[in-house]
């Protein structure tokens, strides 16, 4: 099985640091720390920190590192007196495996993805989540694995610019494929992740059946054919910042982009020129994994994961960086003006499907090839 974790999505959350700093939402100290995590300034590495009675949490740097430190780690230290530090060097599955196999584990908790979590479990380098400490009911259904549990979510959403569309905004993916009533350019990711799903929904397939349909060769081909049909109206985005620029420069009127980028765009675009719909969105979770023989011990880490499940902390996360709470109980605490932008609010959840890593493990490589072909040939 290939690793289907979307490392680019994680890196993108790191890039958002720069934007936040510009908007004055990150302190200078926070920005310097984030840059350190990104490797632009030499980071004080985890080894120096890995003493007993300390938890080392690893994520992908950027604002996410800063926010993680402030929202989850510092609050945990306040409660328990146990220091928690964040290392933003990017815990790829390969690194976790290498660390465990070399016997020099310095990481306690890693922000990974479902694809990596499954592989790492098969390779026997991660620990089972102790669901007597971590509450299974406090994560989205489908994000509690044996050796991994959800920590936050982001979505692929339908973003539109009502100004360019004359106020007539597409309501679903079928509308997006209707170029007669909704003229203008669209943007899709330069990868099938989260994209084939929308093309499948555009054919009228109900949410619950999307991955069933995509499970067949005909289903994949039909989805690809939709892109071939629309390609004269497509500009692709490679990175999260690409998608953001395309909207800012009014190059596109419609797009399938990350909700975290949409969260930035809503503040940057003029009133009435940016809109997001979670109708037909694809919601993807980040997953915590715990390496075997972690220095802080199993129980301590499980307690920390449980701490992170607190709804009020999860809401803060959304406010600061746009990643949605994994805990459904957090939704009522989200401020009213942010609720429509929350990927995991009950209203938004009802219209989305959960990103299926198993499908990507099986089909992604061949689907990507066909996708490129549809766009250029």
């Amino acid at each position: 099985m290939t690793d289907t974790t979307d490392f680019e999505a994680k890196r993108d959350i790191a890039d958002i640091a720069v934007e936040r700093y510009k908007q004055g939402r990150l302190t200078r100290r926070g920005f310097v720390a984030a840059m350190g995590a990104l490797g632009i300034l030499p980071a004080l590495n985890s080894k120096a920190f890995a003493q007993a009675n300390e938890i080392v949490v690893v994520n992908w740097g950027g604002t996410a590192k800063d926010v993680l430190q402030e929202v989850l780690c510092d609050t945990y230290t306040e409660l328990t007196g146990i220091p928690v530090v964040v290392d933003g060097s990017g815990p790829s599955a390969g690194k976790i495996r290498a660390m465990v196999e070399s016997g020099a584990v310095v990481w306690d908790l890693c922000d990974s993805g479902a694809g990596s979590a499954i592989i790492l479990e098969q390779q026997g380098v991660t620990q089972p989540i102790d669901y007597s400490i971590v509450d299974k009911s406090k994560v989205l259904e489908g994000t509690a694995y044996n050796n991994g549990v959800g920590n936050y979510v982001y979505s692929y959403v339908l973003a539109t610019n009502p100004k360019l569309l004359g106020g007539n905004v597409p309501q679903n993916w079928a509308d997006v494929w209707n170029t007669k009533d909704f003229p203008g350019m669209r943007t899709f990711r330069k990868s099938v992740r989260g994209m084939l799903e929308s093309a499948t929904m555009a054919q009228g397939v109900p949410l619950a059946e999307v991955y069933d349909v995509l499970g067949t060769d005909e289903g994949i081909k039909a989805g690809i054919a939709k892109f071939r049909e629309l390609r004269e109206n497509i500009i692709v985005w490679g990175s999260g910042s690409d998608s953001q620029n395309l909207f800012l420069q009014e190059e596109v009127a419609i797009g399938n982009i990350w909700s975290t980028r949409a969260h930035l765009l809503k503040d940057q675009m003029d009133e009435g020129s940016f809109n997001v719909s979670f109708n037909g969105g694809v919601i993807a979770p980040g997953i915590w994994v715990v390496p075997k023989d972690n220095p802080a011990g199993t129980e301590e880490v499980m307690k920390f994961i449980a701490h992170g499940q607190k709804p009020e902390l999860q809401v803060k996360w959304l406010e600061m960086i746009g990643s949605g709470p994994i805990n459904p109980e957090a939704a009522p605490l989200v401020p009213a003006e942010l609720a429509p932008w929350n990927p995991s609010s009950p209203e938004n959840l009802a219209t989305q499907i959960l990103y299926k890593d198993e499908w990507y493990a099986k089909n992604q490589v061949s689907a990507e090839e066909m996708y490129v072909d549809a766009l250029i040939n």
């Binding site: 330069k190 692709v236 040939n377």
Partner: protein, 280 residues
């Protein structure tokens, strides 16, 4: 004996440059060749996959088409510029030369971004056209092949002008004068006397631009909107997006061979040595 040690001295002089080439170019390229044949399994699997993929085929055709059109555009525009500079610029020659060379001081990335500013949907060109009432809705000037070609011709232009200029400056004006004196019209004198003498310059400019265009990456990636996928971008795509080093390497081997073939074919029609090395 004396002559031999003389030769040795020359070899010693080029040794540092050669060492850098071998260490940082030849050696890595061989590594790429190895990966192309060994990952994920040993054999020609990557090349079979490549040959069967219609996306790869399209990308190759596209790459050669873009390179060919860019070359043609650069030659036509560049010839006029080189001709004007070498024959009519007079005192202005240094200034005009500076203008040709100036873009070299600005990175390709910046130059490509400038085209985004100019050609965008709400870019300078579209805004001007709209304000003057020539168009109602913005034209699609980029995120397609047109945008890529405009920017590539701009970036490549100096590579066409400079060899042609060097060549033209070596041509004595006596020949054209003689032809005119013998009663040839201006056009005939140009076509039959001047132009044939500039062919080596044109050829070296063409080869330079074509070969550089084949491997071009930044400009198509920025202005193509993902639909003008040149081979070099496709290689990046395979390696960065899918960690598919085997196929990525196989593609770059194929590009290298294709480029070599172009040179070989060109060598049948042009004297490469005189086109590339002698500026007469």
């Amino acid at each position: 004996m004396f002559r031999n040690s003389d030769k040795m001295r020359y070899w010693a002089l080029i040794l540092p440059a050669l060492a850098i080439m071998v260490t940082f170019y030849i050696f890595p390229v061989l590594g790429i060749w190895e990966i192309a044949f060994t990952e994920p399994t040993t054999g020609v699997g990557n090349f079979v996959q490549m040959a069967e993929s219609s996306a790869v085929r399209t990308s190759f055709i596209l790459t050669f088409r873009v390179a060919a059109i860019t070359t043609l555009g650069c030659l036509i525009l560049g010839y006029v510029v080189a001709y004007a500079i070498s024959n009519f610029a007079g005192k202005l020659t240094p200034l005009m030369l500076a203008l040709v060379i100036l873009p070299f001081w600005v990175s390709v990335l910046i130059r490509s971004f400038s085209w985004i500013v100019l050609l965008g949907r709400s870019g300078l060109v579209n805004d001007t056209l709209r304000d003057t009432g020539l168009i109602d809705s913005p034209l699609r000037l980029m995120h397609n092949e047109f945008g890529v070609l405009v920017a590539m011709i701009h970036v490549m232009l100096p590579f066409a002008i400079l060899p042609m200029l060097t060549n033209m400056r070596g041509i004595s004006d006596a020949y054209v004068k003689a032809a005119r004196g013998l009663g040839a019209s201006e056009w005939t004198a140009f076509r039959q006397v001047y132009f044939p003498q500039t062919v080596p310059g044109v050829m070296s400019g063409a080869l330079l631009v074509f070969v550089l265009s084949l491997g071009f990456y930044v400009t198509p990636a920025l202005l193509g909107g993902g639909r003008v996928l040149m081979i070099s971008e496709y290689i990046t795509y395979q390696i960065q997006e899918f960690l598919n080093w085997g196929l990525g390497s196989a593609l770059s081997v194929a590009l290298l061979i294709a480029t070599a073939l172009v040179l070989l074919i060109a060598a049948r029609f042009v004297n490469l040595r005189s086109a590339l090395l002698e500026r007469k």
